[in-house]
Structures are given as C-alpha cells and as structure tokens.
C-alpha cells in the first residue's frame, strides 16, 4: 500500500507571460500557503512531474498530510503576486501521469 498521496494540479494564471513557472517556486508557493494556513511544520512535498507548457504539476505528499494539502490548494489565490487558480484535476494513492500530449510538448516536460 502506498504511503503517499498524488495530486495532479493545473495552474490558471492571469498573466502567464509575466510569470516564471518553475518547480521550486511552485513548491514554495504551496508550502507557504500550507504554513500560513495551518501554522504547522512544512510537510515533505515531492514533485513527480512538471510541465511549464501545460502549466501542470504532479506531486505527492505523505498520506497524513493529504487533507491539509487538499484544503490548502483551493485557498491559494496568488502565485508570485499574480492572481491564479490552482485547479485539482485528480488525486490518487497510485501514481499519476499527464494525459498523452504532442511529441513537442513531451520534450519540454519532465
């Protein structure tokens, strides 16, 4: 049985051109939101897949932090002072993957 919970997230940004989207910045944004909301220690958050082109991220957190993470995500309203919306596409205990994308897109995702 997996001890992790996987999240598939899509970002919607007001000005995507003016924002640098990197795994580290996304991770910080999420952890800061969780810390400010629950005032608890930051959980271990591992980014499994990241695609700047599709603005999608798959990450996983330990199972005990699932609810905390699930609640925090809808409450995030800004990414680098830019209004945004973190849409939860899917959550699962099993591994998640991006839907099949074009070959060009695949090269830009890891």
């Amino acid at each position: 049985m997996s001890q992790y919970h996987n999240f598939d997230i899509k970002l919607k940004l007001r000005d995507p051109d003016n924002v640098v989207l990197t795994p580290a910045l996304f991770r910080n944004c999420l952890l800061d939101a969780m810390e400010s909301f629950f005032c608890e220690d930051k959980p271990v958050l591992e980014i499994v897949k990241f695609c700047a082109l599709q603005q999608r991220i798959i990450f996983r957190v330990p199972e005990e932090f699932y609810e905390m993470t699930r609640i925090s995500i809808p409450l995030i309203g800004h990414y680098q002072q830019n209004p945004c919306h973190f849409e939860v596409l899917e959550t699962s205990k099993t591994m998640l993957d991006f839907e099949k994308v074009g070959e060009n897109d695949i090269t830009s995702c890891f």
Binding site: I71, P74, G77, E87
Partner: protein, 306 residues
C-alpha cells in the same frame, strides 16, 4: 416543475463590464456549474427619504443577452441582496413589485436586531453577511433554529476567503458559529467572486467544508441539494399559491364504480387491525380500565371513525 441542474453558485456579483461577466460565466461553465445567480446589492439604510412608501427596490439588471449566449450551458438566475438595519424593510418589501422579478432574495443584516429579524420574520430566502465587516454579528441559537424551521438558508462565501487572509479568519469564525449554534444546518456555499480567479470547482468548494466545520455530507449538500431546496423555496415564495400536476408513470385505469373502490380501499386499510366483533369478545373478559385503554389505542380509534 422548474428544472435546475447541479452544481450551483448563487452569488456572482453583477459587473457592468460585459467582458468580466463573460469571463466569469465561461469559467463557471468550465468548472462544471450549471445554475448560477447574478447578485445585485441594495442598501436599504441609505434609501432616499422621498422614496419612502413607493417602490424603492431597483429593477433587476438586464442579463437577457447573457442568458441567450449561455443558453443550455448555464441557467442564470437573478438575486438581490438587501442590506438593512431596521425592520422597516419588511413593509417596503411587502409593497414592492420589483422584488418579484428576482429569483432569490437575500438579507444582509447590519445590526444584531436586524440579524434576529432576518432569521425570524424576513420575507426572503437567504441570510448572508458582509465579509468586509468581519465577524461582528453572531447569530444566536434560537434565531438560527427559527430560521431553519422557516426554511431559510445561511450563506458562506469563499471568494473573500481566497482574496484575503483576514476575511478567511472571519469566515471561519462565522461558519464555526453556525456549527455551534445550529449544527451547520441549511448552509450553502457560494463564491462572491469578483473575477474568475476567485472561482473554484464544486468539489474543491465541498472540500472547504472541513475548515468551515461542516461534515463531508453537509459540504456536498452546500453546493448541491441545499441550493436546489433554496431555489424551490424561493420559487414558491415568488409564485404564491400554485397548482401542481402529478404525471403518472404507469397506465391510467378509469373505473365507473367509484363507491366499490372506496369500500375496497377502506378494507385494505383495516387489514392490519382486529375486527370489531373480535375486540368485543376479548373485552368481555377484561376489566373496565383495560376497555378504556383499548379504546384509546390508535387502531381502535380508526375503527370507530370508520
């Protein structure tokens, strides 16, 4: 029967800019909402003195072009939120014709007295509160129970909670007060979103139930079933006495012998009850007190009336 489809968002503030409105509605469609209400506020405490007694509520904004544009994708209702401080609003509401043009009427009390009035006698459907004013007003237990009995609903807006952390704290405080005073009954979630980035999907919103002190079921109902109930209540208030047509699913059997059928149905009703003769025989052996007791049993009462 008025048809509506889940999910619901009953607070989309009206924006004069059609571009913003369209962006909001497109996002709502994308997120899976099917029934929404465009909200316009009216501050009754700032009314003009000369208008007292006459029609003081505004007409609903024209949204026909949006209705046409979104057609079957989105059902667009109209809602008015009345901000008020005293009970004079009740008279103004009773004589207003414009109010009937709105699908939903929400009350936003500004004082404790107004909040109690809103729960107990306000002729609307929804009790909401101003997120900017903070958690100054707290509903008391009795008023909450009366409101629930009257079929009124309490609204929690999540949009301001996303925009500002102070609003979020107040919102949680108010929501927990609903939980303490009335077990979070009759609660609906709505967005109150100023722009499309303050909107969240219905499942995300249902998940917010955990921080607002609602159970999982209450959270789901707050974006679905309770909203439907609220809509039906509002329609019944708006239309007054109505005629209901019940469509039968099976074949319709016509019969001339209505008397016979009635007799049959009575017999069917009495299947579970002992016959009168049997009862008499039984009662012969028993004392008078038992007789009285048996007569007062509901089944025997039914026999007597029959």
């Amino acid at each position: 029967m008025e048809q509506t489809r889940p999910f619901y968002d009953f607070c989309i503030p009206f924006n004069k800019d059609d571009k913003v409105m369209r962006a909001l509605l497109n996002e709502l469609v994308e997120l899976g909402y099917k029934t929404i209400a465009i909200d316009q506020s009216f501050d009754h405490s700032r009314k003009e003195a000369g208008k007292r007694g006459s029609e003081m509520f505004p007409e609903p904004h024209k949204v026909e072009h949006l209705r046409k544009e979104f057609g079957d994708k989105l059902r667009i209702l109209q809602r008015i939120t009345i901000l008020y401080v005293d009970v004079n609003v009740a008279h103004a509401m009773s004589v207003s014709l414009n109010l009937r043009k709105f699908n939903l009427i929400a009350g936003q009390p500004k004082t404790d007295a107004a909040l109690t009035h809103c729960c107990t006698t306000f002729n609307g459907d929804l009790v909401t509160f101003d997120p900017a004013a903070g958690s100054r007003l707290m509903v008391n237990r009795k008023a909450y129970q009366v409101a629930v009995r009257r079929g009124m609903f309490f609204e929690i807006k999540y949009g301001p909670a996303i925009a500002d952390s102070n609003n979020r704290k107040d919102m949680i405080k108010v929501a927990h007060n609903y939980g303490i005073k009335g077990k979070s009954r009759n609660i609906i979630f709505s967005s109150g979103a100023e722009h499309q980035f303050q909107l969240r999907g219905p499942y995300d919103v249902a998940n917010l139930a955990f921080i607002f002190g609602l159970s999982e079921d209450q959270g789901k109902n707050a974006v679905d079933r309770h909203c439907r109930q609220l809509f039906l209540r509002a329609e019944s208030r708006r239309l007054g006495k109505t005629i209901m047509f019940v469509k039968g699913g099976g074949p319709i059997v016509f019969s001339d012998s209505s008397d016979d059928n009635q007799g049959d149905s009575q017999d069917d009703e009495m299947e579970g009850c002992p016959k009168e003769e049997e009862l008499d025989e039984e009662s012969d052996g028993a004392n008078g007190e038992n007789n009285e007791e048996e007569e007062n049993k509901p089944a025997n009462k039914r026999l007597k009336t029959a």
